[in-house]
Symmetry: C2
Subunit: 253 residues, 2 copies
Amino acid sequence: MAESSRIYTAALIVIGDEILSGRTHDKNIAQVASWLQVQGIRLKEVRVVADDTPAIVEAVNNLRVRNDYLFTTGGIGPTHDDITVDAIAEALQVPVVVHPEARAILETYYDTRGGLTEARLRMARTPQGASLIPNRYTGAPGIRYDNIFIMAGVPSITAGMLDALSGELEGGAPLLSETVGCWVGESEVAELLRQTEKSHETCQIGSYPFWGEGRTGANFVIRSVSAQDLAACTRALVLGLEALGKAAVPGGI
Amino acid sequence: MAESSRIYTAALIVIGDEILSGRTHDKNIAQVASWLQVQGIRLKEVRVVADDTPAIVEAVNNLRVRNDYLFTTGGIGPTHDDITVDAIAEALQVPVVVHPEARAILETYYDTRGGLTEARLRMARTPQGASLIPNRYTGAPGIRYDNIFIMAGVPSITAGMLDALSGELEGGAPLLSETVGCWVGESEVAELLRQTEKSHETCQIGSYPFWGEGRTGANFVIRSVSAQDLAACTRALVLGLEALGKAAVPGGI
């Protein structure tokens, strides 16, 4: 396989009791997923685990070896329930150290905010040998160790860390997509979808039904790394829908 | 351990390329999580996997044996990308059959809607030996097999299936929670949180910071299966915050 067609993959671990209890609605899966698409990296799997060391260790060790990149969100703050750094260091079997650069960043940040207390200094701890991911919003940096990217759980801070990483990671051709909407029950066009995907082997078609305005509809998402194949497959689907007497809505409903 | 204090656990597998691409923001994690809380069942882990048979098989076989219950959402519609039933049957090593009762439900539902086509009949397929979860909205039922609950991916349909299962599953004492908000940086009260949790061993305290209205705040969530211990821990935290000159906001900010 040529280098340009190599597929880069990533996994995401969302760490936090608050997601598993239903108290907090996760926003990081969608934002990490969208960001990875732009980087030309495919998100293969997400796991949501509790603030629980064995659960984090297992997920980290399982996912870091079978993906090019592993991202985590959550559990890197100053309080007792922030155990992500210690758990990942345990997974990697490296010690946790106070990172000098992180300490300097926090000293500057808290200089006018009451000083660098013991609790705040927790946010300078990293697995030994890590580098930092800048955080312009609240000082405390994210952490990079090998192919692992340890980020904050608060979505606005996660967004800033992703922004700092944009263009930094090697990726492949981004997966392109087109959406075609139609006021049709997906079961009425299931055979068309199957045949259209089959005759465009570099494309995948996903079917996402909905019920709204008292009518049944669906959006069909065509994905491919080839812009040309994507356009051909989309055109074939639109013509196929029209042949069945169904108007296609470009861009989706 | 007394029967009444047994902890019942569940895992959830969210199946769908559309979540991993960032196109669709998942709503099922939060709704399944909240529903399980009410049933007295703890959600231990969530995995989001692609519409990919090996990925589904691995997740199902891993999670069904180490939890009391396993839920899945997504991939049970009539189109070619709906592979959940086949993948779960493969994981269980049982054949897929047309379930007579599901077929009858779909025949009735589609009687006035164009008839039961081959594509629609796909939604009557189940692992052999399964029972059904009613779906009042769109006919096509969910599926129960042993401790596995196979549900739709469209959140409103998932909600209906959860509703049909309410009170049907054996659970333990529900995990209760209280929330206390405070306009304080969590790092300023990290030691108080740690000490308060430590001195109330049946309770856990989670700290969830935010930045809003130009001020820094946090919500502290105290969880316990004991209403009495929960009240005592919450009271201790409120008094501790007040001793530091910080006003506690009951119910959170």
